[in-house]
């Protein structure tokens, strides 16, 4: 429902400001252009999106996701010590993180939810510190290959669509670090 309000607000605001600003003619044209641009964009990035989803699926089938999961277990045991005492929660958590890294959203979310459900047992509807940390980990995206964005860039004629990858890694790492630090500090300050 939130999106209904946001979308209507965007349309109403542009019409109101267009009338006030004398740009209403351009607003009308832009509506048509925007809809056409959306379809054009999707069509021209379809190839790249499909190719990389395919590549990620091959990686998953080759056991790369399990390998990544094993790699992340020690880190997760440090971040979420109580939750990781339960081996099933740990395996859901590490699967969640490695699926996120590979950009497999369809695989990451169910695993993350499974972990969150197990961790929420006995919390009585209040988020524990570790649940907050899990959510922060998932709201700060860490993706090895930002394929959707690269697809958009390629569709718009970028000379090298993937040249932003190191910048994305740097921004992701800083963002996750800030989120985890904030969770740690707020967890200290916040009363239950």
């Amino acid at each position: 429902m939130a999106m209904a309000w946001i979308w209507t607000g965007m349309i109403a605001a542009s019409v109101a400001y267009g009338l006030f600003n004398g740009t209403i003619g351009a607003v009308g044209n832009a509506a048509m252009e925007g809809a056409a641009a959306a379809v054009e964009l999707c069509l021209s990035m379809a190839g790249i999106m499909c190719l990389w989803s395919g590549v990620m699926a091959v990686m998953k089938a080759s056991g790369l996701m399990d390998g990544l999961s094993r790699l992340f277990r020690p880190v997760l045991t440090r971040l979420l010590p109580a939750a990781c005492k339960d081996p099933d929660t740990l395996s859901a958590l590490s699967g969640n993180v490695s699926a996120n890294l590979l950009g497999l959203g369809n695989a990451a979310t169910p695993l993350g939810i499974q972990a969150a459900r197990r961790m929420a047992k006995g919390c009585g509807g209040t988020a524990s510190n570790e649940l907050c940390t899990l959510v922060v980990l998932n709201t700060a995206s860490i993706q090895l290959l930002p394929t959707t964005v690269a697809g958009v860039r390629a569709a718009l004629g970028s000379a090298s669509a993937f040249d932003i990858v190191p910048a994305v890694w740097m921004a992701s790492v800083l963002s996750v670090a800030a989120g985890l630090l904030a969770a740690k500090v707020l967890g200290w300050l916040w009363k239950r």
Binding site: M49, N106, T109, R153, L189
Partner: protein, 174 residues
């Protein structure tokens, strides 16, 4: 030196050979995955039609510039280009909305421009925070979210600042 020029072909070759070595039917897995990619795209497309219409209308009315002018100076202090103002606000709420604004920015400024790159890195390094929180806490039956939202928003803001910083460091602010 553009090392990303090696990334794509080497990664493709590595994935194919590693998969075959692990006795995976690489070709079948690839086409199954490609179909999933198409499903994702089909899920985005109807949203983008609505949202890009709204974003193009906002831009044409001149309101987008007004917003940029209002919060621009504050963003500039954080090193964030003011053109991305609208995207920052919609990013935690709607992934498709942010993609709509981001791709409009990349189209208007060029995908290899400073603003275009910053928009791309911001999209690639942040998530749809409120949606994610709703999904996780909703399915776990959590009603009191405590500090999860502020902590996640701090991560988002850091991501935005770091995106602009990373692009400045790696590509210059040209």
């Amino acid at each position: 030196m553009d090392y990303s020029a090696y990334l794509v072909p080497l990664l493709l070759a590595f994935t194919a050979m590693f998969g075959l070595w692990k006795r995976v039917n690489v070709y079948d897995a690839l086409s199954l995955g490609a179909k999933e990619g198409l499903d994702t795209l089909l899920g985005i497309l109807p949203n983008l039609v609505g949202l890009m219409t709204a974003v193009y209308m906002l831009r044409a009315s001149g309101l987008m510039e007004v917003l940029g002018g209002l919060v621009g100076p504050a963003l500039a202090k954080l090193g964030i280009p003011p053109e991305t103002a609208a995207m920052l606000f919609i990013r935690p709420v709607s992934g498709s909305g942010a993609l709509a604004i981001g791709s409009e920015l990349m189209a208007a400024h060029g995908p290899d421009s400073y603003v275009g790159r910053v928009a791309a890195v911001m999209l690639g390094s942040t998530e749809t925070t409120f949606y994610t929180i709703a999904v996780y806490f909703g399915s776990a039956g959590i009603r009191k979210t405590r500090y999860a939202i502020p902590a996640a928003l701090i991560a988002d803001l850091t991501g935005f600042m770091a995106a602009a910083l990373a692009v400045r460091v790696m590509f210059g602010a040209g």
